[in-house]
Symmetry: C2
Subunit: 236 residues, 2 copies
């Protein structure tokens, strides 16, 4: 039986447009006296990815401007309540206010989600391989609400090198009874696990998850494997 | 920065009605040469809780009987598609087929969810304190689907000794901008983390989560803190 370890890395400085996240990761690992190994998984919170990819926009703080920003990032607005919009983003994510960070940002600015988080994850993974010579997986995380449960959890926004959904369906049940759904959204479970060590400190965008089962590694993307197509959705 | 460890315990034998889960935990810990410490969190999968609490019922394998069992466990059926029912259980959980396990069970039987998983968690926690003299938290886990994302994840069905939802809302944003929701469903994130080490082996009902932040421990229950009241739900 293999133990899983979720290791937060030390905080890095404020990330700016054009910053190389792998440089920051190098610095953070050095400060922790840690090195990466094959089959580690590197967690990166979406906010630093957005900032490094220049997804910071001017925001005048008005409701009108907020609605405009949300509309620009969304395919559809599914529900409205007070200041809250439940949106379907251009990526296909269903989330609150299109995932736009309107607080905890520099005054007069808002932070949009990365344009293509799976691509961002693939790029970070390739950079890590080039810099460290190791084969890791990468998950970019963001915080989403849920319909029927209180509180938010971190989920995978983009991934590389890991199967976001693990198919545990074996042979059909010999008795002919209903086969339980056993496609496990491991990328979301990993993202949530990382939030347990990162959640309290906004300055800590990186964590390492070590000890994942070998079967978890492989190809796939959040966009293709985790986002539910609208036509399969019973509640949209 | 504190590292989180998620430690699966060795498999135990088949659990029967009336079995003392703490006896099984003692055996499993001994086999792993591990002991419990204050502020460990013990994960117990709901299936062994159900079995020990005699929540196993006869099931003839027919659709008619399946629907009857689901109805008996539900307040409402929210959606139907093929053999799938999206249900609101008597606990208030929204899940598939009222959480009834119709496969992976002994032939001719089905396993219902525990009647009061928070009470079960409190009882297991008290038993552990009595037997080991340590103050741990307990989460009983089950596997739920999500509306807008593919795949299932493990969530907390019952809890004791931990705040299921952690309130990270600080002082209001000085600029008057929208305050982000920061009530984090840590119990669900912990349940999901445990599934990463337990998911592949049905015979392994226990895990230890070690290294959780001190602020996570406290009172609360899944029923009161994590279940969203229907009148706050935008999608029922």
């Amino acid at each position: 039986m293999r133990e899983l370890r979720v290791i937060p890395l030390p905080a890095v400085g404020v990330v700016q447009s054009g910053d190389d996240l792998t440089d920051l990761l190098v610095e953070s690992l050095a400060n922790a006296a840690l090195s990466l190994h094959d089959r580690d998984l590197v967690i990166v919170t979406s906010k630093v990815v957005s900032k490094s990819e220049d997804r910071v926009v001017q925001f005048d703080g008005t409701d009108r401007h907020k609605d405009e920003l949300i509309k620009g990032e969304s395919r559809r607005i599914l529900r409205r309540r007070g200041p809250l919009r439940i949106t379907e983003t251009h990526h296909g994510f269903v989330n609150a206010n299109a995932g736009i960070d309107l607080s905890n940002t520099a005054p007069g600015t808002a932070v949009l989600l990365p344009k293509d988080p799976d691509r961002s994850a693939r790029r970070i993974r390739a950079d890590i391989r080039r810099r460290f010579g190791v084969d890791v997986a990468v998950i970019i995380t963001d915080t989403f609400g849920r319909v029927w449960r209180q509180g938010v959890t971190d989920v995978a926004l983009g991934s590389a090198g890991i199967k976001p959904v693990l198919d545990l369906r074996g042979t059909p049940d010999a008795t002919g009874r209903i086969l339980e759904v056993t496609e496990v959204a491991i990328a979301d479970e990993i993202a949530g696990a990382a939030n347990l060590v990162l959640g309290k400190d906004q300055g800590t965008p990186f964590a390492i998850v070590r000890g994942l089962d070998d079967s978890y590694f492989g190809s796939g993307s959040v966009g293709e494997d985790l986002v539910r197509p609208p036509n399969e959705d019973l509640f949209r």
